[in-house]
Structures are given as C-alpha cells and as structure tokens.
C-alpha cells in the first residue's frame, strides 16, 4: 500500500496486538487465527469465494421464477449487490497485485425447488456472509480495504435481515441476530458452504430443510 494510505490512518493496525479484549465487545476479530490468512489478498480471496457463491446463487434463483412482485424486486437487487461485490473484490485484488481466485463449481442442490427453500438458503448464505466478514476483518491490515470490507459486511447484514423478514421469521433470532453481530471463523464458514462447492465430476446431494 502507499504511504499516503498510512498517513490517512493513525499508524498501522497490525502493530497493535490482536485480541486485545475489551469487555463483551471483542467478539469477532479474534476468531481468525494467524494460520487462516497470511495477507490482505488472502482475506480478499476468501471473501471473493463467498461472493461468487452468493452471486451465482441469486442468478440461478432469480431465474427459477419462484418469487414475484416486491419480493422478486428485493432478490434481484440483492443479486445485483452480490455481483457488484464480486467485481469490487476482483478488481481490488488485481489492484493490489494479487491473483483473484477462480469461481468455484457450484451446485445448490434443492435450493430452487420452492420459494421457501430459495429464501431459506439465501438466509443461511447472508448470515454466514455477515459472520465471515466480521470474523476475517481483523486480519486486514490496510484500512481502506477494511473500509470496503466493512461496507460490504453491512450490506450483507441488510440482505440477511430482509430475507429473514420475507420468510416471516421471528424478529430476534430470525431477522436480527441480537444486539451485536457475531463473527464466524473461516473453518466454520467453509464448512457451511462446502455442500455447495463441487468438483466437476461430483454433484452434491440436494440440501433439505
């Protein structure tokens, strides 16, 4: 990163010991461990993988014509947001001199069998996305990248809440997840999305709800 960037911020966050616990608030950043990410680019590629999954998920889901009216409009907009995140992360990685990971082969199983399965899977994706960004954010050394990641994280939280509401879930624990968002570890997130990632020869079984 440029020196200009460093000047904009107060020193280098990475110089401060990670995991400085401040009461109940420090619930996210310490989830990531040193072996999870070696660089900002690795964090960005991790985020990019998740965004690929989400963008393609909505592209297929919206094509399946499971929803109508306002609901459809929301899901189209969410899909456009995810596609935008893919583009943002890809270009950011390239600008940093890194190589963006390729898109994974995906199979969403029975997610598009019905409106309910579509929305339920979307809800899982969005909440995992929220947790993933929060859990990985502590690794990002460059503050401007952190700003962008935080900005994406907030939008994933919007998606999660609205999809939860479309499903008619209870407010607390369905639409909101408490007074504080919780980070998810990389291993937790990858385990959650693993059923959707396939190699070309293998198709996963449909997920059921």
């Amino acid at each position: 990163m440029t020196d200009t960037t460093a000047d904009l911020i107060h020193g280098n966050a990475s110089a401060v010991p990670a995991g400085v616990a401040i009461g109940a608030l420090n619930n996210g950043f310490h989830l990531a461990s040193a072996k999870d990410f070696n660089s900002d680019i690795e964090v960005l590629n991790y985020a990019l993988t998740l965004e690929y999954l989400e963008a393609e998920f909505y592209r297929q889901g919206n094509k399946a014509n499971l929803v109508t009216g306002k609901e459809k409009q929301y899901l189209m907009q969410i899909g456009a947001d995810e596609a935008s995140h893919v583009a943002t992360l890809t270009a950011t990685i390239q600008k940093l001199g890194g190589t963006p990971v390729g898109a994974p082969a995906v199979d969403y199983g029975g997610a598009f069998d019905s409106r309910k399965s579509y929305l339920t899977t979307a809800h899982i994706f969005e909440n995992k996305g929220v947790g993933a960004y929060l859990g990985a954010a502590g690794f990002i050394k460059n503050k401007m990248i952190l700003q962008a990641a935080a900005g994406i994280f907030g939008v994933e939280a919007r998606h999660a809440a609205v999809v939860g509401n479309l499903l008619g879930l209870k407010a607390e624990g369905g639409v909101y997840m408490g007074s504080f968002e919780k980070g998810a570890s990389k291993s937790n997130v990858l385990a959650a999305v693993a059923p959707f990632l396939v190699n070309p020869d293998k198709v996963v079984a449909a997920i059921t709800y």
């Binding site: 990670a18 995906v106 994406i152 809440a161 609205v162 007074s179």
Partner: protein, 219 residues
C-alpha cells in the same frame, strides 16, 4: 480473470434492470484501493475516500472521542425508540420488528459506555433530547424518523472505520454497525423504502452526522 467469464463461461453479471446495472458500474468504477481512494463524484454514496469529504477534521480524534461520538448517537437512538414504543403507534408485525431495536440500542449504550470506562475514559452524559413535533403522532412519522436515524447511524459507523486505532474497538464498532444495517433495512422494507440503497454502505464524517442529529438534541 475476467469477471464476465466465470462459472464455466456462464455469465454471472446479469442485471434485473437498468438501475441495477448502473449501480454495479458505479461501484466497479470506484474500486478505491491502490490509487486515490476518492470517489469519482463528490458525495458518491459508496465513496471509500476520506479526502474532501470532511474527514480531515476527524483524523485528530482519539478512540475515546470516537467512542463518545458513537455513544451520543446510541443515546439518541435508544431515547427515540423508547419514546416511540411508549406512544403505542405500532402493532402486529411492525411492533414485533421494532420492539427488539429499542433493546439493541439500549444494549449499545451500555456496552459503549462500559468500553469507555474500561479504557479509562469518561462517557459523555446523555444529551437532552427533543423530537420534533409530530414525530410520535403516527406510525408513518415515527418510522420515517427511525429510518433517518438508522441510515445516519450506519453512515456514522462506517465513517470511522479508517480512524479507529485499536483493532478490538474496530471489531466492536463493526459488530454494532452490522446491527444498525439490519435495522435500517427492515425499516425501509416495512415503510416501502429501499432496504439496499447501495452495494457498499455509505459513510459520513462526524461533522455531517452531528449536524443531521442536531434537531434532536435540546439546546
């Protein structure tokens, strides 16, 4: 790798409408890293950059200053929802969705206060609040102001991301900011607004936020 050639050559970037396409292009064009971090247009809602947007004044603030700033906004929000719920303007699903927000804001106040104290700082006193006439006279008026508060809160938190020094505090702020984003989206959804105004949360410097909050603080 070309972003138009992923998923085995199938296009991913398929837009529902012209608005979505433009929104995408705007975001893609401002990718703010490595060069200037400045948006292509002043006031761009998804600008990452600090330059010329009022953030220079914020740069001298300490983490405690930032925490007290957040605390002030949380005080306002908590007081707002407490008064709003007391006015009994909502029922059914509306009430179910708004009721937890009051608790969230109250929890944010308590946690931010405690964090300031833990760090050896002194929490600012709760400001005297006043809500403009008519704020609590109808569901529509209450929710409209709620939406204003929430979107402002989101922009306020995102405006400080690059300025907080302690990573643990940043984690804390982020975990609160995400909740404010949920609130903002839900209020927009139930009032017929746009729950997703931009693909990346917008941000504002302290001065602009406090100016917007002034009508709610009694002199």
């Amino acid at each position: 790798m070309g972003i138009n050639k992923i998923f085995g050559g199938r296009p991913v970037l398929e837009f529902a409408d012209e608005h979505s396409r433009r929104s995408f292009l705007r975001n893609a064009a401002l990718i703010g890293v490595g060069v200037t971090y400045v948006a292509t247009r002043p006031g761009d809602p998804v600008a990452f950059g600090n330059a010329d947007r009022g953030f220079k004044n914020d740069a001298a603030k300490s983490d405690l200053d930032i925490l007290n700033y957040a605390l002030t906004l949380e005080y306002l929000e908590a007081a707002f929802y407490t008064a709003g719920l007391k006015a009994k303007l909502l029922k059914g699903r509306d009430l179910e969705l708004i009721d937890p927000i009051q608790q969230h804001e109250t929890d944010h106040v308590a946690t931010v206060r405690k964090t300031i104290t833990d760090l050896g700082g002194k929490p600012v006193a709760q400001p005297k609040v006043k809500f403009p006439a008519g704020t609590f006279t109808s569901r529509a008026a209450f929710l409209k102001t709620a939406g204003t508060f929430e979107e402002l809160g989101v922009k306020a938190y995102h405006g400080q991301v690059t300025l907080v020094k302690d990573p643990a505090l940043l984690a804390a702020a982020a975990s609160i900011a995400g909740v404010e984003s949920r609130h903002a989206a839900i209020i927009a959804q139930i009032t017929g607004g746009n729950p997703f105004p931009a693909p990346i949360e917008a941000n504002l410097p302290m001065g602009a936020v406090l100016k917007a909050a002034m009508p709610f603080i009694a002199k």
